[in-house]
């Protein structure tokens, strides 16, 4: 049980990498990058977890009640927003690539093959 969060993070990392290695389409590859990135979310949130502790919001609980680590949560929050915009940037690149070359298959788009 105590190993589970770390193994989930490692699994997400591995399966994301597998997707990137075997990808036949750049849109799929960008999706795999998202999966890969979510490994960091799981890892960070698991590091900051504490049993029997609430959210680090002291609105309905007075300050001083046990709460999980807010530092990693703040990291994950900005990570998600930046991840979304970077995904958009990559998708824009894929779109332009498809316009210029008519394909999104990494196998066909190798720079040295032409």
């Amino acid at each position: 049980m105590t190993l589970l969060p770390w193994l989930v993070a490692a699994w997400l990392l591995g399966i994301g990498l597998y997707g990137i290695v075997t990808s036949r389409n750049y849109v799929h590859l960008i999706g795999c990058l998202g999966v890969l990135q979510s490994a960091t979310y799981v890892l960070l949130l698991a590091v900051g977890y504490k049993w029997n502790a609430g959210a680090p919001i002291f609105y309905s609980h007075p300050p001083g009640t046990p709460a999980v680590d807010p530092v990693v949560q703040a990291l994950v929050l900005t990570d998600i927003v930046i991840g979304a915009t970077v995904t958009a940037l990559l998708l824009a690149l894929a779109l332009q690539l498809h316009k210029k070359r008519g394909s999104l298959d990494p196998e066909e788009l190798r720079p040295l093959r032409r």
Binding site: M1, T2, L3, L4, P5, W6, L7, A10, G14, L17, Y18, V21, T22, A46, V47, G48, Y49, K50, W51, A55, P56, I57, F58, Y59, P63, G64, A67, V68, D69, P70, V71, V72, Q73, A74, L77, T78, V81, I82, A84, T85, V86, A88, L89, L91, A92, L93, L95, Q96, H98, K99, K100, R101, G102, E107
Partner: protein, 258 residues
């Protein structure tokens, strides 16, 4: 490199990394039962020192505010990159018709869809503003609220179609939001320096704990982030939707000759 060779290399890399991964996982601190020195310090200090109840906001906009400034500019760069990549080809056209793929008709929208989108989209925008405004007291903040506002505006696209949506959602305004939000963040950082204090030092009155207007300078930073995120995400939607409009004479179609 052939497909099979690449898979083989990947399997080999995984085999090499697996024992190390397992060792690290087994030696990680016990899940949920190890000390959290930084988190506990923030949880202890922020309600006292900054009069806020949302610790994540305190970390993002105050204790780690300088890092968030960097992240804010990453957002700005990514959005600028998308705009540069996509706007160059077709340009803006507010009156263009939606593009049509040969052999695929565009079905009329059902009245129920239009009605639901018109009813729900403003509510979602208001909810996004609410989430952004209550950054320092309850879960939420500029990042989350900005994304919710942008998604509410995207719902209008579903209801109004390309033309109606482009008439409602002007990119000028959202460009100003995006750049102005980032500028507001920087200004909030530089303003304390004019008073001879440190960058981003919280010099404004802190307000009452559990009050919406608590947190001092965090409120200004939060507003900057909310504007930048809402503007940035809406600009992304606008640029991707521009790609769906019909190509007119004089536009550079930029398509691959097939």
């Amino acid at each position: 490199m052939s497909r099979r060779l690449r898979l083989l290399l990947f399997a080999l890399a995984v085999l090499c990394a697996l024992p190390a991964m397992w060792r690290i996982a087994a030696h990680m601190p016990r899940f949920g039962a190890h000390p959290l020195p930084y988190g506990d310090a923030i949880n202890d200090a922020a309600p006292r020192e900054r009069h806020v109840t949302n610790m994540v906001t305190a970390v993002n906009f105050d204790y780690r505010g300088f890092d968030t400034l960097g992240e804010e500019f990453m957002l700005l760069c990514a959005v600028t990159g998308v705009v540069v990549l996509l706007r160059g080809a077709r340009g803006q056209d507010l009156d263009a018709l939606p593009g049509v793929v040969a052999g695929r008709e565009i079905a009329d929208r059902a009245d129920a869809t239009v009605l639901l989108c018109r009813a729900i989209a403003p509510l979602i925008v208001v909810f996004g503003i609410y989430v952004a405004l209550h950054a320092t007291v309850t879960p939420g903040g500029g990042f989350q609220g900005g994304v919710i506002v942008a998604s509410g505006l995207l719902l209008l696209y579903l209801g109004e179609g390309y033309r109606g949506w482009r008439r409602l959602v002007r990119s000028r305004l959202f460009e100003a939001f995006e750049g102005g939000g980032a500028a507001l963040f920087v200004a909030a950082g530089l303003a304390p320096m004019l008073l001879g204090r440190a960058f981003l030092e919280n010099v404004l009155p802190l307000g009452q704990l559990r009050d919406m207007l608590s947190g001092g300078l965090m409120l200004v930073v939060n507003a900057g982030v909310a504007f930048a995120v809402a503007g940035g995400f809406t600009l992304l939607f606008i640029e991707f939707m521009e790609e769906t409009r019909a190509v007119r004479e004089g536009d550079d179609p930029g398509e691959h000759p097939t």
